[in-house]
Amino acid sequence: MTPWGTFVASEEDYVAVGFQLNGAKQRVVTTPDRTLLDILRDTLGLTAAKPGCTIGRCGACLVLVDGQPVNSCLIMAFQLEGAIVISPEGLASLFEAKFVREALVAENSFQCGYCAPGFTIALVALLRRDRTPNETAIRNSLAGNLCRCTGYQSILRGARTAIERLKEG
């Protein structure tokens, strides 16, 4: 009960979902079709993943699930059981993230920055798979991330700088 009455959904509509989020166990009770994006933002208060289209077309909500970049607006609670999720807030645990973040900062890769966490996830995922991607591989890995401010060139410079710095160690 809340001060305003009962919830709309009846109790049998709720499920408990257990998954790992940013290295810690999470258990969330929610409706099974609730998206990971909503769970992150509204239940857990983690707002780095952003809603931009909520149909998987902009990449602002990307997170890593079992190591792969996926749109958290498309993943529903019932698909989360046992998953290992890293949201943008938890990226620091990954070795490549430091290089990606520092390079994106050095190149002023973003302007409004709303898309920045999603791009960062995509780039970290790329560099975990391929330390020396060529220009085509970089662009392909970012094809699902929309940015309206920068024209992408600064993000590409950030990606190249991250690759160089990762090479130098």
Binding site: W4, F7, A9, D13, T31, D33, T35, R41, D42, G45, A48, K50, P51, G52, C53, T54, I55, G56, R57, G59, V70, N71, C73, L74, I75, F78, Q79, E89, L91, R101, V105, A106, E107, N108, S109, Q111, C112, G113, C115, A116, P117, T120, A122, A125, N140, S141, L142, A143, G144, N145, L146, C147, R148, C149, T150, G151, Y152, Q153, L156, R157
Partner: protein, 1047 residues
């Protein structure tokens, strides 16, 4: 919703069968969000297939590959063995969606959806699918499966394929609406088995998007037995196209689909190279000495490059946008939009919604205490509609509830009784006598004319006249953060409204008028913003949000989802510009006539001013003695339009620059010489005969463009199925609101208790770099360091009214603000410190971190800012306010701008001979906008504007039919992706000002967007000989022009 996770296919089938249609199978589930939004309902049960044995593995099975239907599309990228066995499929999957989706979407889902991009490939590979239904397991050929009606109880568990023969020729091509992550317009796949030069076997299939996936058996028949060298590609393409029946939609015609499909099949299977089109007589400029530009980059300007103060928190995700704020007692707001383009409201019934547990407030027009109207220039839009709706996104009601699900349900419970009215969806029709009236005072929102000289006499004397009609799109701003924020009723009875905006004080005034409150009872916070581009100039959700917070007595957050944002939000004014331009035999312009028709949508907002700015660019920067222009703006039921980066200049510049380029061809001049011959002289009167600011650099921009390396690039990509061309266009970029609009600003410098110098400036940080610029200009002026400065922006409680964050005003106003307030603030600091230190104020100077002895060279501080602040105490801290204006001309017959910057774009494009798609290879923007305050922000503004301009030119249009949006979300509205971005870009700056020029840095926020369309269109013309007149460019038009579509 109940989720089942059966362990066997039979059990899965039984679950769906028993549910009587209530349940359906789910693999990756990536298509469900789109699907559920279309239907506005969700199933009560889902059958999750992920526990089925063998569902997510692939194996070799008696010489065939068995691919589990639950395998993800990314399999081919991650598993090299799979890619090697089935190169065609590997190629296809890379073109499906984007990595984030490919990691979740399944092979089975792509097939079961019956429109997946994999289907043509599976069809030509003679795929068989393993199915379960109530009768058990079956194997069925894919083409048979597709020919039978869809059934919710047939479960696909695997696909069986024979590995590709490595000697076979194969092709796959997906043709989309843009280059990256695109919906499919049409997809083809084909395999040829050759016996020497003879085609032994041919498999060809079509599909993708709205095309029915199928083998093209008739095409296979005509290919079989043909000798490769005997095939004439063009006639074969025509032959195949005639055999392909393809449907049309709002984006591409069936004719286009069948032609590009045929062309892709022939190009991919028969002949990789087409015969080169007729060589064209290209008029490229002669190289010229380049002016002393610098390329703007971190490498070239490391000393001046600043790291944005907000970049780290943005990259790490800690930056809090106004739509990110959550608190325990915060309600969730939702807006009920009209959903019909034009109707009378007979009744609004909110009883059921109000009675729903968890709903705290429902507001309608009855809750508006003040003026139920808003609008920047005229108040013609209701805050909440009472008796009439005029576009699909008109706000009818709003709810606040304890959570999003309750709010969504409450919206569905509000019943509105509409009586439809006739729809006006064309500007010309809106202005016809007898057209249905959208507002009582008529559909003509605004009309403006300007004549000089004698246009008729001018045209009579012309050797060449070009008359053309140019069409521009309803471009969407496409900010990644849709309209949203929160409002808080404060305990003192005031209201705080936190919604991204571009002029907090104006939002505050408009909200106050709606509430019938004094402005000072409302605090408006407008920064930070996840992008605006003009689309957050006008009020959007603020009226409904404010009313919900007041009625509920609780903080309320409200964030439009993208589909709502498309429906409710602003767009650029679509324009139809008829232009007639004439010159003498030497290319000197003699006459110009312009007739502009612009769509305002249902309300005026800033649109009349947009039309005025467009008309001010009717002749570009060229001297034309005889001019006749007319612009009309009409109300329609087509959404609502208004401010958009460039504010009318992109549309008119597209037209005039195209006209100049075409006249140059007629006269036989290269595009630079033609422009040079007509370019205004520095210091000559402006378009309306008024004075313009000094430091004009238009001729230097022409020099730079003429010297561009892009004219001399080798056509190295020419052989790859594309035609290459290079084009130029010029910017004459006005800054500021103009002579008729108020254009005031203010800044406040204060020493804060923490010892930082607070620079309060009422601008909004929407990404453009206000924070960087404030730190730079204030620190430079005071002589302290940038870290001593705390910029304060976008909050009416903390910042003075600096006017709108628009019109390229910011750079100048910040720079000028530093000069206005800086010296006075320095004196205030000197005086305050002098008292404490027992020194004379003139003995002290501001230094990094504090004040030093003016005669000291060491830089040692006598007192640091923190100590100064502490010793003065919180009530005695120095603070200086300055008010000033943006420079104006005193010509007031028409709105005219005084400050101009100059630029030129050189673009090199490739036109795809198969699809007609335009790909920008290189884009160089030359700029002369005075001294750069800071290069990173300058570069960012230009690059971002350039790509937004490229979207305007090639992919972006919010299509409407009968007053409804066809492009309802980012799956159909085509923002350019990183794949669509130019391969190579450069931005150049020519920084100097004339001696005595006191107007400092010019704004470049709009510079980048304006000249891209005409430069790209000129490059297209250079490549294929035809000037696009409608943007976004229609590939079909280009194919027709290239001669491949005739017949």
């Amino acid at each position: 919703m109940r989720i089942h996770r059966p362990a066997t296919p039979d059990a899965a089938v039984r679950l769906v069968d028993d549910s009587g249609g209530a349940a359906y199978f789910v693999g990756g589930g990536t298509a469900l969000q789109v699907e559920w939004r279309k239907r506005e309902t969700r199933p009560t049960e889902l059958v999750d297939l992920t526990a089925l044995p063998g569902f997510e593995t692939w194996t070799w099975e008696s010489g065939r590959v068995r691919i589990g239907a639950g395998l993800r599309l990314s399999l081919f990228e991650t598993d090299p063995d799979m890619g090697a066995a089935l190169p065609l499929l590997a190629n296809v999957t890379r073109d499906v969606a984007a990595p984030g989706i490919r990691h979740r979407a399944t092979i089975g889902g792509n097939i079961a959806g019956r429109s997946g991009c994999l289907l043509p490939a599976f069809l030509v590979l003679d795929a068989e699918i393993e199915l379960f239904d109530v009768e058990g397991r079956h194997l069925e050929r894919l083409d048979v499966f597709l020919s039978r009606p869809a059934s919710s109880t047939r479960l696909i568990t695997a696909v069986l394929l024979t590995a590709q023969n490595c000697r076979d020729r194969w092709v796959h091509r997906k043709i989309g609406l843009r280059a990256g992550f695109t919906p499919s317009v049409v997809g083809v796949a084909g395999i040829l088995r050759l016996d020497g030069a003879l085609i032994n076997e041919a498999s060809v299939a079509i599909g993708g998007g709205i095309n029915r996936p199928r083998r093209l058996t008739a095409v296979e028949t005509i290919l079989r037995g043909r000798a490769l060298e005997a095939i004439e590609p063009t006639s074969l393409t025509n032959e195949i196209a005639a055999l392909i029946d393809a449907p049309s939609d709002s984006f591409r015609s069936g004719r286009y689909r069948s032609r590009v499909a045929a062309s892709a099949i022939v190009q991919g299977l028969i002949q990789a190279q087409r015969s080169v089109a007729k060589p064209r007589n290209r008029l490229h400029p002669v190289s010229h000495d380049s002016p002393d530009e610098i390329e703007v980059s971190r490498q070239i300007l490391p000393e001046r490059w600043r790291i944005r103060p907000d970049i780290t928190e943005k990259v790490e995700g800690h930056a809090m946008f106004l739509t990110d704020r959550r608190s325990s007692n915060m309600l969730v707001g939702r807006i009920l939009m009209a959903g019909v383009p034009h109707a009378v409201i007979h009744a609004i019934n909110t009883k059921a919604a109000e009675a729903l547990p968890g709903v705290v407030a429902v507001v309608t027009a009855a809750d508006v205490p003040g003026l139920n109207a808003f609008g920047i220039l005229r108040q013609d839009q209701p805050a909440l509609c009472r008796d009439r709706v005029r576009f699909v996104g008109d706000v009818v009601a709003a709810v606040a509830a304890i959570d999003a699900a309750t709010a969504a349900l409450a919206l569905r419970l509000i019943k509105v009784d509409y009586e439809p009215l006739p729809i006006v969806d064309e500007v010309a029709a809106a202005l016809e006598p007898g057209a249905p009236l959208i507002h009582a005072d008529g559909n003509l929102v605004h009309e403006a004319t300007f004549d000089k000289g004698d246009a008729d006499a001018g045209f009579a004397a012309c050797a060449h006249v070009i008359e053309e009609t140019y069409i521009t799109p309803r471009q969407m701003h496409g900010f990644l953060e849709t309209e949203g924020g929160f409002a808080v009723p404060e305990t003192d009875g005031s209201l705080t409204v936190c919604v991204g905006g571009q002029h907090g004080t104006r939002d505050q005034m408009q909200i106050a008028r709606i509430l019938g409150w004094p402005m000072d009872m409302i605090r408006v916070v407008t920064s930070p913003i996840g992008g605006a581009f003009g689309g957050k100039d006008e009020l959007t959700i603020q009226p409904a949000l404010a009313l919900l917070a007041l009625k509920s007595g609780c903080p309320v957050r409200l964030h439009l989802d993208r589909a709502e944002s498309v429906t409710l939000g602003m767009k650029a004014n679509p324009m139809r510009i008829r232009m007639r331009t004439g010159c003498d035999a030497n290319g000197r312009l003699l006459a110009q006539e312009v007739d502009l028709l612009a769509d305002s949508g249902a309300y005026a907002s800033f649109s009349p001013a947009v039309v005025n700015i467009a008309l001010e660019h009717a002749c570009g920067p060229y001297l034309v003695p005889n001019v006749r222009t007319r612009g009309r703006l009409a109300y329609t039921n087509n959404g609502r339009c208004g401010a958009f980066r460039g504010f009318g200049a992109p549309q008119m510049t597209f037209a005039i620059e195209s006209q100049i380029g075409r006249l140059a061809e007629r006269v036989g001049l290269d595009p630079i010489t033609m422009r040079r011959r007509n370019m205004r002289e520095p210091g000559s009167p402006g378009y309306h005969g008024h004075a313009l600011s000094p430091s004009e650099r238009l001729n230097e921009m022409l020099d730079a463009a003429a010297a561009s390396s892009l004219w001399r690039s080798l056509d190295d990509e020419q052989g790859q199925g594309v035609l290459i061309g290079t084009g130029i266009a010029v910017n004459h970029q006005g800054n500021g609101f103009g002579s008729l609009a108020p254009d005031e600003s203010a800044i406040r410098l204060s020493l804060a208790p923490d010892g930082k110098v607070e620079a309060a400036f009422g601008f909004d940080e929407m990404g453009q770099g206000v924070l960087t610029a404030i730190k730079e200009v204030i620190a430079t002026k005071l002589g302290c360091c940038r870290d001593d400065i705390t910029p304060v922006t976008g909050d009416t409680a903390l910042t003075p009214d600096s006017g709108g964050t628009s019109a390229g005003r910011g750079a100048y106003l910040m720079w000028r603000g530093a000069s206005e307030a800086g010296p006075k603030f320095t004196v205030a600091l000197q005086r305050a410190a002098a008292v404490l230190l027992g020194r004379h104020p003139d003995d002290l100077a501001v230094a990094p971190g504090g004040l030093r002895d003016v005669r000291s060279n060491s830089g040692d501080l006598l007192i640091c800012f923190a100590d100064l602040a502490r010793m003065l105490g919180p009530t005695n801290l120095p603070s200086v306010d300055a008010k000033y204006s943006f420079p104006k001309t005193n010509y007031t017959d028409r709105n005219s701008r005084f400050i101009f910057a100059s630029g030129a774009v050189v673009a090199r494009v490739a036109v795809d001979r198969t699809t007609g798609a335009v790909r920008v290879l290189d884009l160089h923007q030359h700029t002369a906008a005075g001294p750069m305050i800071e290069p990173a922000a300058y570069l960012g503004q230009i690059e971002g504007g350039n790509l937004q301009g490229l979207g305007f030119t090639t992919t972006e249009h919010a299509e409407m039919v009968n007053g409804f949006y066809v492009t309802g979300n980012l799956d159909s509205y085509m923002l350019p992706t990183v794949i669509d971005a130019p391969l190579r870009t450069k931005v150049f700056a020519l920084e100097g000002l004339d001696a005595g020029d006191l107007f400092g840095p010019r704004g470049v926020g709009e510079m980048g967007i304006v000249a891209v369309a005409p430069a790209v269109c000129a490059a297209v013309a250079d490549a294929i000989g035809v000037w696009p007149t409608k943007i976004p460019i229609e590939p079909e038009t280009l194919l027709d022009a290239m001669g491949y579509l005739r017949g």
